[in-house]
């Protein structure tokens, strides 16, 4: 009898020795990470740890000074158009054009990501339905509440069905019901094969929804591992160990 060993899902994202300086200081140093399709990676770190810079580089909004970022095995720094169709990004505080309404936002994002005609309408209608945005469809982004803005930002990140979803503190300003809906959406995306990377300050968010966790501190990766069920206390301990330990340069 032959045993068929299931192959690992393909690699969605790979960071090789990525580094980046911002405003005269090292924001990210020598960062190497990988993420399989269908996996959810939680990125933890205190403010200024380099999470947003890392996510901006992964999303294609910022170029690393050194290192390589591969999306589905291809270097997207050399082929920036790969980021266009393959990555969905929700930056911190969901930036929106205040004069456009919800539908116009989704159409604009879909067009920027290469969708046209019937495919665009189908994708937009599907995400409006999935995120229950129908009551807000004609409302201007400038008058949306913070939670509604966050939902619209999430819809914009998902409208073109990316293979990698990059979420920068997506639970900001969401109420508990919306947070539960967000968790369910992330799990649903992962089950469909989308790799998800999310940064958060909320440790319980990581244990609830992530398969793996990475902790950044002062721009460097300090911990990376799988998230086990009921692992919250251990993760919290590890996080505080890293966050409270000054680096040698800082201690001096």
């Amino acid at each position: 009898m032959t045993t068929i060993i299931p192959a690992d899902p393909p690699l969605a994202l790979q960071l090789d020795h990525v580094a980046r300086r911002r405003a005269g200081r090292v924001a990210v140093r020598d960062l190497s990470l990988s993420l399989l399709r269908g996996q959810v990676l939680g990125l933890l770190g205190v403010n200024g740890a380099g999470k947003s810079t890392t996510l901006s580089m992964i999303a294609g909004a910022l170029r690393p000074d050194t290192g390589a970022i591969k999306l589905n095995g291809e270097d997207f720094l050399e082929r920036p158009e790969l980021a266009r169709t393959g990555i969905g990004w929700l930056p911190e505080r969901a930036p929106l054009w205040p004069e456009l309404n919800v539908i116009e936002h989704l159409d604009a994002h879909a067009r920027l990501r290469g969708l046209r005609g019937a495919a665009l309408h189908a994708a937009r209608n599907a995400i409006v339905e999935r995120l229950e945005l129908q009551p807000l469809a004609r409302r201007l982004a400038g008058v949306l509440s913070q939670g509604q803005r966050q939902r619209l930002g999430l819809a914009c990140a998902l409208v073109h069905r990316p293979t990698l979803l990059v979420l920068d503190e997506p639970a900001n300003a969401l109420d508990p019901v919306q947070m539960a809906a967000l968790r369910s959406l992330i799990r649903e995306q992962a089950a469909a094969g989308t790799a998800v990377i999310l940064s958060t300050h909320v440790l319980s968010e990581v244990t609830a929804v992530c398969d793996r966790v990475a902790i950044l501190h002062e721009g460097a990766l300090q911990h990376e591992g799988m998230v086990e069920a009921g692992d919250h206390a251990a993760l919290e301990r590890r996080f505080f160990e890293i966050a409270m330990t000054p680096r040698p340069a800082q201690a001096a």
Partner: protein
């Protein structure tokens, strides 16, 4: 295709922005009133001019002066229109969304420029519609009007490119508008001193926008003037592109 997506997005933003509508309504009302005044004065002097064999006609006395009024308004309207195009995106935090969508800086700039040209073309066309509405009843000099319209179109395109460049360098739309207004006026009148001193040639006169628009308003189309506008537009758009590329690199 990404350039068209940016152009469409910017066009939509221009269409729903109250400022664009207010500017269009106020300026067209002002131009309409001026057209009526110019037309009244043209009709009043018709009998005296009939005695002159080569006297000025409807084009010289109504259509071209109306376009001259548009040129004056453009110094204020174009900076107000262009100020938020990139600086507004920077303030909203939406500029990184365009970078993340893999749109090269050149296409962001060209897409936004196309949308601005669309609005300005509409503005010029509505102004031109006033004298053209009387084309059947007057002796309209089509060639002269076409040259003047070309001059105005090039001037608007140049001011839009300059405004776009100012917007790309600024984080505050108001600063971008002020910079575009001052640069536009400076470029128009840089040769004022030379003109007062009776100097007609030289680099300072070549640099002045007025020296390239006025011949076109008189019906004279020269490749040197067209080249001057192409250079100004190209340089402004190249500067805007370069600045956006640098911003993308530096973060």
């Amino acid at each position: 295709m990404s350039m068209l997506a940016v152009a469409r997005l910017e066009w939509r933003r221009l269409r729903v922005r109250p400022l664009a509508w207010v500017l269009a309504a106020l300026t067209l009302a002002w131009l309409g009133w001026n057209f009526t005044v110019l037309l009244g004065s043209f009709l009043a002097g018709q009998i005296q001019r009939a005695a002159l064999p080569d006297g000025p006609g409807f084009t010289d006395l109504v259509a071209v002066p109306l376009l001259g009024q548009l040129a004056q308004l453009a110094f204020l309207v174009v900076p107000l229109l262009t100020m938020s195009v990139i600086a507004g995106d920077r303030r909203n935090g939406t500029l990184p969304l365009l970078f993340a969508a893999g749109v090269p800086a050149s296409r962001i700039v060209l897409g936004k420029y196309l949308a601005l040209l669309g609005w300005l073309t509409l503005w010029l066309a509505l102004t031109l519609a006033m004298p053209l509405a009387l084309a059947h009843a007057t002796d309209l000099d089509g060639g002269k009007l076409a040259a003047a319209a070309l001059g105005l179109a090039l001037m608007l395109a140049a001011l839009a490119a300059l405004g776009l460049a100012c917007s790309s360098f600024s984080s505050h739309p108001a600063i971008a508008a002020a910079a575009a207004l001052i640069l536009g006026l400076a470029l128009w009148s840089v040769n004022l001193g030379a003109q007062m001193a009776g100097i007609d040639g030289g680099a300072i006169n070549w640099l002045a926008m007025s020296a390239h628009v006025q011949p076109l308003l008189r019906g004279l189309v020269s490749s040197a003037d067209l080249l001057w506008f192409a250079l100004l537009i190209g340089l402004s758009l190249a500067l805007a592109t370069r600045h956006l590329s640098t911003e993308r690199e530096r973060g």
